[in-house]
């Protein structure tokens, strides 16, 4: 038994009464402190939220299938766009990466568990409470949040529905959960690495998560702060965001985006890390430029703190400000470019095979780069006055989030499913899942560039007739993408229930400590730390 568990006992953290395997029944899941159990719960929770947020996207696309109002009331449409954004960002993408971190980081650094297992349990169980609270607002009389996922004041204060208070508490709970998860990740990585695992020997997924965790503890408190200010404006008579009392609504946007911009990197950096493990495995070559990858990730994280005002070029910031934020934003293309070139160089002259994880990873590199290019266009301050609040922005961030974050998660899921379940997934179905997702997603989001440039505003349930054809194509693509995700659910369930037994290392070129333990990974791994040379 390692020093970790012994010393936990000294400090009254005993209670590892399931040394020989999981407890039975429902209470196993409620009380578990096992990183694999908690990781699985995170992943299932995030998938449930992905389907819920996705069904809201289907409502949006159904309404936009044709011009005119036909299916939902505009007020409800606003709630759908808001909740879709909130649920996908805080409920689907972030918990999925925390789930992957829980499962894989201890296995990758040779630790027996996360450093703070009880806190781990608490940070997971806050999430169902938070999202229960958030989703319940849809059933209140005044409806749920309808001010957009960015909840700009005064829409979210003076003009907010009554349920905004529930929204604020839900955000607080999610924030506490994320902060605890981040602290846990940092403690695990810094304190529990196997002997010989120096920082620069860590897999990139661990590196990117370490940096993500620091981003989380730096900006989630700012988000907590901004919703606390809203709460005080709404209920305690302060005027942080009310001009009548000496406050300023533009202040809200500054504080929000000070959180919001690092947040977008929180959603993408772990995907960078996962893809940096998967591409070498299927190209059968070591990752090109490991060190530059680490420094590029750190640079992106640093730059993310000084670019927030590029989200608000049109609010009337001075010319020097626009120039500063424009150039700082464009600077991010440099470390990101380093990463893309490194991935391409890793594949160059490799013996590549295209199993599902690799397909998703290659699509990730290509499509994320397209999203990056539209990001560069948006970074150009004078051009942004045209693009601002149009579907071009919607196209941009869906290109970085769907084939970026979500494809990164799919790639990781297929890559590590054999380790999690002990079975190989159905490769044919997985490839079908990839191609349907790929086609559906491009069909849904690519036309949005065109309608956006032509001036179609976002978050509006109706549009001009000239946008009708492109919107219909978008909706067909969105329905395809949405329906395809049930195939993913089927593939995962099929893989859990059976299939070809997976060897300890199912992928030829895969590297890392996680492949040294049997598949499925036993309930307790690395009770004795492995030696890393």
């Amino acid at each position: 038994m390692s020093a970790v568990i012994d010393s936990h006992k000294e400090h009254g953290h005993a209670g590892h009464d399931h040394h020989h395997g999981p407890a039975k029944g429902l209470m196993r899941w409620v009380l578990t402190t096992n990183h694999k159990d908690i990781g699985s719960m995170y992943l299932w929770f995030s998938f449930a939220m992905f389907l819920l947020g996705g069904s809201m996207a289907m409502v949006i696309r159904a309404e936009l299938f044709q011009p005119g109002l036909q299916i939902v009331e505009p007020a409800f449409f606003n709630q759908m766009t808001t909740m879709h954004g909130l649920i996908m960002v805080f409920g689907a993408v972030m918990p999925a990466f925390v789930g992957l971190a829980n499962w894989m980081i201890p296995l990758m650094v040779g630790a027996p568990d996360m450093a703070l297992p009880r806190m781990n349990n608490f940070s997971f169980w806050l999430l169902p409470a938070a999202f229960g609270l958030l989703v319940s607002t849809l059933f209140t009389e005044g409806g749920g949040p309808n001010f957009g996922w960015t909840f700009y004041a005064p829409l979210s204060t003076t003009y907010a529905p009554e349920s905004v208070t529930f929204f604020i508490f839900a955000i607080h709970l999610m924030g506490i959960s994320s902060i605890m998860g981040a602290i846990n990740v940092i403690a695990t990585i810094l304190n529990l690495r196997a002997p010989g695992m120096t920082l620069m020997k860590m897999p990139l997924f661990v590196w990117t998560w370490l940096i993500t965790a620091f981003l989380l503890i730096a900006v989630m408190p700012v988000l907590a702060g901004v919703v606390t200010m809203m709460l005080m404006d709404i209920h305690f008579g302060t005027s942080f965001f009310s001009a009548a009392g000496g406050g300023d609504p533009v202040l809200f946007q500054h504080v929000f985006w000070f959180f919001g911009h690092p947040e977008v990197y929180i959603m993408i950096l772990p995907a960078f890390g996962a893809v940096s493990s998967i591409i070498p495995a299927f190209a059968r070559k070591p990752l090109f430029g490991y060190t530059s990858m680490v420094y590029a990730t750190a640079s992106i994280a640093f730059l993310s703190f000084i670019v927030w005002a590029h989200h608000m070029f049109t609010v009337g910031i001075p010319l020097t400000g626009e120039l500063f934020f424009m150039y700082a934003t464009m600077l991010i293309a440099v470390p990101t470019g380093v990463k893309v070139f490194n991935w391409a160089s890793t594949m160059w002259q490799g013996s590549m095979t295209f199993e599902a994880p690799m397909l998703f990873s290659v699509a990730f590199v290509i499509l994320f780069t397209i999203g990056g290019f539209s990001g560069l266009m948006l970074a150009i301050a004078p051009a942004d006055f045209q693009y601002h609040d149009t579907y071009f922005v919607v196209a941009h961030f869906h290109y970085v989030l769907v084939p970026g974050a979500i494809f990164g998660i799919f790639a990781s899921a297929y890559y590590w499913l054999p380790k999690w379940t002990g079975h190989m997934y159905d490769e044919t179905l997985a490839k079908l899942h990839f191609w349907m997702s790929f086609i559906g997603m491009n069909l849904a989001f690519f036309p949005m560039h065109f309608v956006g440039l032509a001036g179609m505003p976002r978050r509006i349930p109706d549009y001009n007739l000239q946008f009708a054809d492109f919107n219909m194509i978008s909706s067909v693509g969105a329905f395809t993408f949405g329906a395809t995700q049930f195939l993913f659910l089927f593939i995962v369930i099929k893989c859990i229930r059976g299939g070809k037994p997976a060897p300890a290392k199912p992928w030829d070129g895969a590297e890392g400590l996680e492949w040294t333990v049997p598949s499925p990974a036993p309930y307790h791994t690395f009770s004795t730390p492995p030696e890393v040379k």
């Binding site: 020093a3 970790v4 010393s7 936990h8 000294e10 400090h11 953290h13 450093a115 703070l116 902060i179 981040a182 602290i183 940092i186 403690a187 810094l190 304190n191 529990l192 002997p195 503890i217 730096a218 900006v219 989630m220 408190p221 700012v222 988000l223 907590a224 702060g225 901004v226 200010m229 008579g237 302060t238 005027s239 942080f240 009310s242 001009a243 009548a244 009392g245 000496g246 406050g247 300023d248 533009v250 202040l251 500054h254 504080v255 000070f258 959180f259 009337g316 910031i317 001075p318 010319l319 400000g321 730390p529």
Partner: protein
């Protein structure tokens, strides 16, 4: 390798970072105000100006006046004249008229803004009704002065600037009962 002490120390440090960043979120509020006033960003003007200026007869600037009611505000509110051509460095006065047509006493707060925003730092108000709150009895009408100096150092390309007021109904926040004292009270946070 780790022991629990390491974990505890690390967690405490990380929690300190979390607490610090939470505080930083709130610190952004005064930082934002200071930045806006120092650089005249966002059209924000500073409080009462104390200095004096030498008049520069050669420099003439058109100052346009705007008055807007915020949502839900029912007063009649407007400047006595639409615009004034002023000389840089000289003191000027403009009257704004407000009338409460309702049958209830009400409190109002005017918030100024200067456009173009880079001119805000060069627009000095020596006296302004926006420094205090206004209480009007039912049917009451008042004339409220604003005295201002346009700075000689106003950027050369600015030949025309706009002083805009938005009038907010703050009756709910500051009931007009104790008007004598309230009228002197600055708004709850930083004077506009």
């Amino acid at each position: 390798m780790s022991d629990a002490l390491d974990n505890r120390r690390l967690v405490l440090r990380l929690l300190a970072v979390v607490a610090g960043m939470f505080a930083f979120g709130f610190a952004l509020v005064p930082i934002y105000d200071v930045m806006c006033q120092a650089f005249g960003i966002n059209g924000k003007t500073a409080g009462a100006y104390q200095g004096e200026q030498v008049v520069d007869e050669a420099r003439q600037v058109r100052v346009q006046f705007l008055a807007t009611n915020a949502a839900g505000m029912s007063w009649e509110f407007g400047p006595a004249a639409d615009e004034l051509t002023v000389v840089a460095g000289a003191s000027n006065e403009m009257l704004f008229v407000a009338h409460n047509p309702t049958d209830k006493p009400m409190t109002a707060q005017a918030i100024p803004s200067v456009a173009p925003s880079k001119a805000a730092a060069f627009f000095h108000k020596t006296e302004c009704f926006c420094f205090t709150q206004q209480v009007l009895q039912p049917g009451e009408r008042i004339e409220m002065p604003v005295r201002f100096i346009v700075d000689r150092d106003l950027p050369k390309d600015v030949k025309h600037l706009t002083l805009a007021y938005t009038l907010f109904d703050i009756t709910a926040r500051q009931p007009p009962v104790a008007q004598a004292t309230l009228a002197q009270t600055a708004p709850s946070r930083a004077a506009p």
